[in-house]
Amino acid sequence: ADLRIALQSDADVLDPDQSRTFVGRIVYTALCDKLVDITPDLEIIPQLATEWSFSEDGKQLTLKLRDDVVFHDGTPFDAAAVAANIDRSQNLQESRRKSELSSVTGVEVLGSHVVRLDLTSPDATLMAQLADRAGMMVSPTAATQAGADFGLNPICSGPYKFKERVAQDRIVLEKFEDYYNADDFHFDTVSYLPIPDTTVRLANLQSGDIDMLERLAATDLAQAESDAGIQVASAVSLGYQGITINVANGDKADNPWGKDKRLRQALSLSLDREAINQVVFNGAFAAGNQPFPPTSPWYSKDFPVPARDVEQAKALLAEAGFPDGIDLEVQVPNTTIPLQLMQVVQSMASEAGIRISLVSKEFATLLSDQTAGDYTASQIGWSGRVDPDGNIHQFMTTDAGLNDSKYSNAKVDALLNTARTSNDQQVRKESYNAARAILNDEAPIVYLYHQTWIWALDSAISGFTPYPDGMIRLKGMKKEDG
Amino acid sequence: MSLVNTEAQPDLLVVQDFSLRFRGAPSDQINRVSFSVGSGKTLCIVGESGCGKSVTSLAMMGLLPAGAAQINSGKMLFEGQAMNLADPKAMRKIRGSRMTMIFQEPMSSLNPVFRIGDQIVEAVKAHSDATDAQARDRAVAMLQRVGIPAPAKRMRDYPHQLSGGMRQRVMIAMALVNDPALLIADEPTTALDVTIQAQILELIRDLQAETGMGTIMITHDLGVVAEIADTVAVMYAGTVVETGPAERIFNDPQHPYTIGLMSSIPQLTGARGRLSTVPGMVPTARNMPAGCRFSTRCPFARPVCTTEPPLVEIGDGHQAACHFAPLEIKLKESA
């Protein structure tokens, strides 16, 4: 049987070392196995590695590997393959996994199926990285042969192998019969079909043209639920959405919004995040004020989602010297949801005297303006990572890659670095809480909400488990004939 | 000169009291027009531009744009039978077979995208069960007949490959291929120069003599009329003001308009004095004078001219619609 899954957009290049998109990762869950995987509760569990352990100093990670695994091209999976993969991720010039594996200094093949990674320093995020693209194993034979063109014909060791791809139309995978756990996978082929329009995506499911879709629009939830032929599953995502404010990125930061945290606090206070969730997302998403959703263990309970306080916001404005209100220009991606969201924000903020004007830009422009510091405030989000570090470190530490706000605070840097290198959960948690105390006050990013992944499936499909990472794991999924 | 004895035959086409009005016009464009033509004979209709010559002929063919005009009175007898202009089916049967027409503009009257052969063959097949080959043979024969050299080869030509004279000959071939009893030629030579014109007129004359076909020739060139007419009808503003045998019309015109027309022709011999003119222009339907339609331009107009003058017989079938015909006598009387 064929499983047809509608994706919101087309995947980019199908090379785990080069790829960048969320939908690409969805395809990889079927195509490429990783060293480790996660549970819905974000615990790390075995996949290609059966066991692993850190050395005392946390600078060595030893992994035991499955010995019954072959790549789709027949190349056996072993310790050498792991070494080759790590090497590729670090040294292929096009690789985008370099920073994820930056702590790894060397790979030691200890046995045919035992391997050791040597680290510069303890790295708390490493296991989570290995549970994602950095941990995906590609066939070293194929990789050497194809080089940077590997993505045209990806060869991994997952339960499905690459069959064909027509850009913007479909990516088709077929069952890999030599998969070690082939019996748990019940579809002969899986097709991923990019259908960008949410209404059309749902219509396709309703008309039976597809079996499943990801990212159902929150506003379509009620309708999908009322349709007997459709079941819905959801999970709060790992990411967040917010407004990034330019505090030190070039000349444009040189304005009250960049200089005075009280204005940013006022903006945050002027918003009713729950109402935003209700109006824009029918209440299906989660209001938020931190990089992690309130449901996350990493969420700092000391700073709950603030209630709206227009008076307080006004007071802050007055204190900052703007008793008559102040203007703010926010750039927004030119798509429906961000525009709608920002119009609500606009409307709410105006009651506190913050007059927001929206400039919608098409994403490429928005992104380059944001990196270049050519903005005052920007509505943007982050898709989220399994490890908390992924949601905060690169945004808030000095000179970090994604720190477009150019926020810089030595204390925050120290705290986040500590959290990164400690394997002690308690230490990490406290560091994050301490950093939160500062960031909440300074508010370079005003967090707004956390998306909920919503999947809609044909009701004949069983065995689907929603994960907060938004992936579709095909293991155990079945479709009853009917 | 006619090979067919037409003496005993009734008139081929008789038009009586024919009136027609365009939609929305305040007066009849064609007002009580009567004329007739016999087999083998040629009737010339002359008159100034815009006086209604083409409208009349198109009406006879049932080719006026649908809904554009309404026929207010009159009857038409063709080969002894009354024609019903309101019956498109019956008209279509006659049209192109018994009664055919050639138009003024040889350049635009042939369909530019079809071979002339096919256009003639189509005319044959529209009115008979002839096979393709038969129709083709007839077309070739007809082209030969109208004086087109190498007709079988010419059949494959497109209209633009022919000169104006040749095109007009093709039109004539198309009109004659079904042996019509009556040919209506609406200014067939106006667009051609004199040498070609002479050829065409000779052709029509010959064909007529040969087949006994009746012809209505519409023109405002009196030279052409003198050349070809048996009888002449002079039209002015939708009325027939004078009609009769050609000889009488030329040598003894009665109506002031006919006289004016004749006087305004430059001559090839004699003194070259100032030309006499008919001043003014044909009235349009909107400002049609009551009574005699020529009265606004007539040098003899009197109060009585506000009543419609009847077409009175002067003799030999010569009729004129003027209160003062014959002028030289009547005017003296009234003076």
Binding site: D10, A11, D12, L14, D15, R20, Q93, E94, R96, K98, A148, G151, L152, V166, A167, Q168, D169, P194, P196, T199, V200, A203, N204, Q206, S207, G208, D209, E362, F363, A364, T365, L367, S368, D369, T371, W382, S383, G401, L402 | M61, L63, P88, R92, S97, T100, F103, E105, S108, L110, N111, P112, V113, F114, E122, A126, H127, Y158, Q161, M174, A175
Partner: protein
């Protein structure tokens, strides 16, 4: 005829070069860095810089252009920055789709537009004419995405008559391929049908008054033959010219329709490529569409000559 075509082709070359320069420059002027746009959430400055070098994005624009055109002349249109697929392969994948969609839309438009145009010209001023015009104008004014989604909701979801989207190559399953394309082709065709209808109407109105149509009637031909053979054949020239122009537009212009019916054609490809600043892809498509555009116009000129004996060689 052959030399005519040859000359037209020769004239087309500078046009195509001009177009490619124009589009190339315009693209380069767009804000947004292709490498950054593609990087999305993962912006490793080192990798970005490497990619810029690799795709020669740091070269001066004229150098980039000459590199590109040099490769293009050797049949290498470069690769997509986003998916690494060769542009030529992408085009080969999309072209049949686009042509099928455009052709089907055109067939719809012709089947509806021309008869409607003839009919309303013949019945000018009657209620039939009036209704035909209003319907045509509605076709012209309804936005494609609106009509498209409405059709999906009704025909696919409610009545389950036709598949909502997807594309199957004609070679794979002709029946399904055509079924799937019916709705998008219809949506795309409506506005075209309206345009064609109105042009057919006015061309026919002009021709119906002509002398040769009168001649055809004078021959005693039945009205249907007069209109369909004599009048329509002559009205055809402007319609053919227009059809070619529209077909050229269709090849690149079906963006929204493709988006809604998820048809993997040129329109969607070029839109995504533009948004991702996938220059090679945009440039490749523009090149192909320009060629197609010029080819259609060439066809129109040939048809024009064939339809119009006056232009044929003696």
């Amino acid at each position: 005829m052959l030399s005519f075509i040859l000359r037209r082709v020769v004239i087309a070359i500078p046009t195509i070069i001009l177009i490619s320069i124009f589009v190339f420059t315009l693209q380069k002027l767009l804000p947004g860095d292709p490498v950054l746009a593609m990087a999305g959430e993962e912006r490793d400055p080192q990798v970005l810089e490497f990619l810029r070098e690799k795709y020669r994005l740091n070269d001066p624009i004229p150098v980039q252009y000459f590199t590109w055109i040099g490769n293009a002349l050797r049949g290498d249109l470069g690769i997509s920055l986003r998916t690494n697929q060769p542009v030529l392969e992408l085009i080969a994948q999309k072209l049949p789709v686009t042509i099928q969609l455009a052709a089907m839309a055109m067939i719809f438009a012709l089947l509806i537009g021309i008869p409607a145009g003839i009919f309303s010209a013949v019945k000018k001023g009657t209620i039939v004419d009036y209704i035909a015009n209003v319907v045509a104008l509605s076709g012209l004014s309804i936005p494609n995405f609106w009509l498209g989604i409405m059709l999906i909701l009704l025909v696919s979801v409610k009545w389950k008559l036709l598949p909502a989207s997807g594309y199957v190559p004609l070679s794979e399953d002709p029946v399904r391929s055509i079924t799937v394309m019916i709705m998008p082709a219809f949506v795309l065709g409506t506005a075209l049908a309206a345009t064609l209808m109105r042009h057919t109407r006015s061309a026919m109105l002009g021709v119906l008054n002509s002398d040769y149509v009168r001649t055809a009637r004078a021959k005693g031909l039945v009205e249907r033959r007069v209109i369909l053979k004599h009048a329509f054949r002559n009205a055809l020239t402007p319609i053919v010219t227009l059809t070619a122009l529209l077909f050229g537009e269709l090849i690149a212009g079906a963006v929204l329709t493709e988006q809604i019916f998820t048809i993997p054609g040129f329109g969607k490809l070029v839109v995504d490529a533009v948004f991702n600043r996938d220059y090679a892809v945009v440039q490749g498509i523009v090149l192909v569409t320009a060629v197609g555009f010029i080819f259609m116009n060439l066809l129109a000129d040939v048809a024009y000559v064939l339809l119009n004996p006056r232009l044929r060689k003696q």
